[in-house]
């Protein structure tokens, strides 16, 4: 297992790192039809606090911001795509997290009122064929247009979150590339 740094799209704000969820070493074998969940860590590498949001419904298929788009390539592997949401939950002030310099968080772990969801493609990843797999994650917050963030469920007051949306750095970051061989 190795991580290819050259394909990262870097940012001076934060990094996105993906890694096997369990304790794996390069000597650990990855086997066909054995679940191999992937974890995510986002770290503030700037000298200032930054605001960020974890995975919300619609994030994984890119219908709303923040977009968390996983990419899994393997021989003949068909990546899991979650059900396309017909309506998306409103983003709330509590969904925004402030990361201090050096601080990191898992964007799929709900806590403290944050309604984060798993990335289905990562959580349920089970290689189906042998061969080399390459996995990455693109995180995009690159929209200052509120509409792309707010969600579509009714009865929602956007006023409390508008200011937060503008606090999030509007950028696109690609994670490390996780490459490994499935036996």
């Amino acid at each position: 297992m190795k991580q290819e740094a050259q394909e990262h799209q870097q940012s001076d704000k934060f990094t996105v790192t993906i890694f096997p969820q369990s304790s794996w070493t390069e000597q650990t074998l990855v086997k066909v039809n054995k679940p191999f969940p992937i974890a995510i860590k986002i770290r503030n590498i700037s000298l200032e606090p930054i605001w960020i949001v974890g995975v919300l419904d619609g994030s994984e298929v890119g219908v709303r911001f923040p977009r968390y788009i996983p990419k899994i390539e393997g021989p003949g592997y068909q990546q899991l795509i979650p059900e396309w949401p017909e309506m998306t939950a409103p983003i709330r002030a509590s969904d925004f997290i402030e990361l201090q310099p050096g601080e990191s968080f898992d964007p799929t772990q709900p806590a403290s009122g944050r309604a984060y969801l798993p990335l289905i493609a990562f959580r349920d990843f089970t290689p189906t064929t042998t061969g080399t797999y390459r996995i990455s994650l693109t995180l995009s917050t690159d929209s200052a247009n509120e509409k792309g963030w707010l969600g579509s469920l009714p009865n929602f007051d956007k006023a409390p979150v508008s200011s937060y949306i503008y606090k999030v750095p509007h950028i696109t970051v690609i994670s490390n590339l996780l490459t490994f061989t499935v036996l």
Binding site: V61, I81, P82, E83, W84, M87, A115, D124, L153, N155
Partner: protein
């Protein structure tokens, strides 16, 4: 305010989901008693908030694993007694209130709840009154000790009501009958908490289902709609059975028969890109849903379509969030014939229809009002399989392996027992609880045999501060003719108008001065098929009703002589925010309390209203005198000047009454200005002019102007005004009987004998 309490006599949860078997009432009662004896037993912590869908919340202690399908069975194997659960209906003696009673204490997945809806029949209309639910009734099966006695089921509990009630306790008695006997009636006795009897309803058994919904499905050409799925084909958490959409809802207690036939919707309904937008779907619904109606009703439409514009992965959508009567599924995404695909089709169809019953996703429950905890472990039609999480199991595979093809327990309670407006299509909007509106006054009639139709009309938009005047029209729909009270101005109280602001707040317009007048009864028939009036409703007892820019919705109700309530269309209008300093200044000249009263009264010399008169004078003479809003100031002051004004000199001991005589000269100038500006503004309008007086007010003002001119001795001027009036109202869209009435108003001044025959009618000149 509505004050009927249907539970008062006229002056004359147990988590009983169990194992999903078809329970007898004996079993349910025994389980209830066991639980009550348990030292650790805590009363079921059910909170039922009337303002939200799926409102019941309680700790889920038992998984509702479905093991048998006994839909439609009304008897139990245990003792061959007929189940008592189902829908009952009946009236209280001497009352016009009907109760639909839902008893849910045995049978398939009993929730051990009782609920009901009240309806009032007045004249030719049936109107919804309110709902209730008993969440934790005590269930007792009385075994006879004597042969002359009959075995019976007693259900006793205190209800939660949508209205204030003096008799919240409900005592229901249902005789138990053998399976081969006809179902027995239920007697529902309401009583006070102290046990004093209130109203009693004897309700005949109607159905073993709790609700009935008309289901219609159409499909786009090339789409092969879902028909059925055999649940045992793939591993699942439930028994093997064949499910159609109707069967899935039947298991929840909803009678929603599969549509007899489906219609093909032309593919071009999706536009040239072949992708459906919500607007296109709504148009398709309006065109193809035979039961489509812009009112609450137990009906739902599903379109099996191709693809939605929102994305290539969207399986289905409830596109009609306001009314919840339409949804669509997309076969470019869910189409196919493998077992997995057909299974997904079934889930998608039921899931989207579930939204129409005001059900949220299992992972969106926290966004309802009020919120509930999300239920990520729900094995429900309403869950997204990907988000399923229970114990260490997650995802779609785990969901499908355990899914018993059903709604979860709380959704089941909502489907069977939610307050009517929280579930009925066209009731509360998706996710919203009850509105701040008197439930009876503006509830939609279930049935309308009044033979009358009420419409309300106004301009689409208004300046901020502009007087809001609505035109009311009451017309006959029963061609046989009938006697009708034609006092339709809200001042008389026979018509009431609800005003809904964009923030959802609803107010009932209350006139500043309620006029107590006997009905003015006229015989309506083909010769006089409608009555008209216009009303200024900008100001009333509660002050200004349109004092914020934004969108407003208005609806009126007419109280007919036979007690029927005739509801109008919903009128939408907009008050525009001022866009410049001039409009802000003009708004300030109109939005004072004095001005509101002067507009309501059509003028006054009252000293306490001097500020208002000064503002209108400023409007007429000042820098804004050429603005269209000056018309209203001229009307108010012109009408006031046309009549004498009596004033009591309170500073004198004798309290002499002084009279200010009519000022015909001033009145003529002002009224001719107001009328002339209106006519000039839009002489060819087919509808209400965007600026200026409405037709009815204009008609009144022109009549007064002609009278003033006549009083002044200006007969030629009066005749000219009358001729202008006849000409103006001779537009093709104005009904001939209205034109005739205007001609008859003009006739005395024009010097023609209108009553002697049509030949002597005032002629409509071609002059503008």
């Amino acid at each position: 305010m509505y004050t009927i309490d249907p539970t008062t006599a006229p002056v004359s949860g147990l988590n009983m989901t169990g194992n999903g078997l078809n329970y007898s009432v004996d079993q349910v009662a025994r389980m209830q008693n066991i639980l009550m004896r348990k030292a650790t037993y805590e009363p079921e912590n059910v909170e039922y908030d009337k303002s939200a869908p799926e409102r019941a919340t309680y700790p889920s202690t038992a998984q509702n694993s479905f093991r048998s399908s006994n839909v439609g069975k009304e008897t139990t194997a245990e003792n061959q007694k007929r189940n008592v659960s189902g829908r009952y209906r009946g009236k209280s003696p001497g009352s016009n209130i009907e109760l639909e009673l839902r008893i849910d204490v045995d049978g398939l997945r009993p929730t051990r709840r009782v609920s009901g809806d009240f309806y009032q029949t007045v004249g030719g209309t049936i109107t919804y009154v309110g709902s209730f639910i008993v969440t934790t009734p005590t269930l007792t099966v009385i075994t006879p000790t004597h042969t002359s006695e009959q075995e019976r089921v007693i259900i006793d509990g205190e209800g939660i009501f949508t209205f204030t009630t003096g008799s919240p306790r409900l005592w229901i008695t249902i005789p138990r009958v053998d399976g081969f006997m006809p179902p027995a009636s239920a007697v529902a006795q309401f009583m006070t908490t102290a046990g004093v009897p209130g109203a009693q309803y004897t309700c005949a058994f109607e159905s073993s289902f709790f609700r009935r919904v008309e289901f219609e499905m159409d499909f786009v050409k090339s789409v092969q709609p879902f028909k059925s799925y055999k649940t045992g084909v793939l591993p699942s958490g439930g028994p093997d059975r064949t499910l159609t959409v109707a069967a899935a809802f039947a298991e929840a207690g909803i009678d929603m028969p599969d549509p007899d036939g489906t219609n093909e919707v032309p593919f071009d309904g999706a536009g040239i890109d072949s992708k459906w937008t919500n607007r296109e779907l709504h148009t398709a619904m309006e065109n193809h849903f035979s039961r489509y109606h812009n009112e609450p009703g137990w009906r739902v439409w599903l379109l099996a379509a191709t693809l939605h514009e929102n994305g290539p992965g969207l399986r289905g959508i409830m596109f009609d969030r306001d009314q919840r009567q339409g949804c669509a599924v997309f076969h470019d995404v869910i189409g196919g014939s493998t077992d997995q695909i057909v299974r997904a089709q079934l889930r998608t169809y039921v899931h989207e229809l579930g939204h129409c019953f005001n059900l949220y996703h299992s992972h969106h429950k926290e966004y309802m009002q009020p919120p509930q905890p999300n239920r990520l472990d729900a094995l429900s039609w309403m869950h997204y399989p990907d988000y399923y999480r229970s114990g260490g199991l997650t995802g779609a595979a785990a969901y499908w392996a355990a899914f018993p093809f059903q709604f979860d327990d709380l959704e089941l309670i909502h489907l069977r027992h939610a307050f009517r407006n929280d579930i009925i299509m066209g009731g509360n909007p998706f996710g919203l609880g009850a509105a701040d509106l008197d439930p009876l006054l503006f509830a939609d009639p279930i049935e309308d045999l009044s033979g009358l139709r009420l419409s309300i009309k106004a301009a689409e938009s208004y300046y901020f501060g502009e007087p809001i005047v609505v035109e009311l029209k009451l017309e006959l729909t029963d061609i046989r003719g009938k006697r009708v009270n034609t006092r339709i101005h809200p001042n008389y109280g026979y018509v009431q108008i609800a005003i809904k602001r964009s923030n959802g707040k609803i107010q009932i317009y209350q006139p500043l001065l309620q006029q107590c007048a006997e009905p003015e009864v006229e015989y309506m028939d083909v010769n006089m098929p409608a009555a008209y009036d216009s009303a200024y409703i900008g100001y009333g007892k509660k002050g200004f009703y349109f004092d914020d820019p934004g969108a407003y919705e208005l609806r009126a109700v007419y109280h007919a002589m036979d007690g029927s309530k005739v509801f109008s269309n919903t009128l939408r209008l907009r008050v525009d925010a001022p866009i410049n300093e001039q409009e802000r200044e003009i708004a300030n000249l109109f939005l004072g309390e004095d001005q509101g009263k002067l507009l309501y009264l059509l003028g006054s010399d009252g000293e306490t209203l001097q500020k208002g008169n000064d503002a209108f004078e400023e409007m007429i003479q000042g820098k804004h005198k050429s603005h269209p809003m000056a018309i209203y100031a001229k009307l108010v002051k012109g009408m006031n000047a046309s009549r004498p004004f009596k004033k009591i000199e309170t500073d004198l001991k004798s309290k002499l009454v002084s009279v200010r005589p009519a000022d015909y000269m001033l009145s003529k100038d002002l009224l001719s200005g107001a009328c002339g500006q209106t006519i000039a503004a839009d002489p060819t309008a087919d509808s209400m002019a965007e600026v200026g007086l409405d037709n009815i007010t204009l008609n009144m003002a022109m009549q007064r102007l002609a009278e003033v001119q006549k009083e002044q001795g200006d007969v030629a001027g009066a005749q000219s005004t009358c001729q202008d009036m006849v000409n103006y109202f001779s537009k093709p869209h104005i009904p001939s009987f209205v034109q005739d009435r205007i001609s008859s108003q003009a006739a005395p001044i024009l010097g023609v004998d209108y009553t002697s025959g049509t030949e002597s009618k005032p002629k409509r000149s071609k002059k503008k």
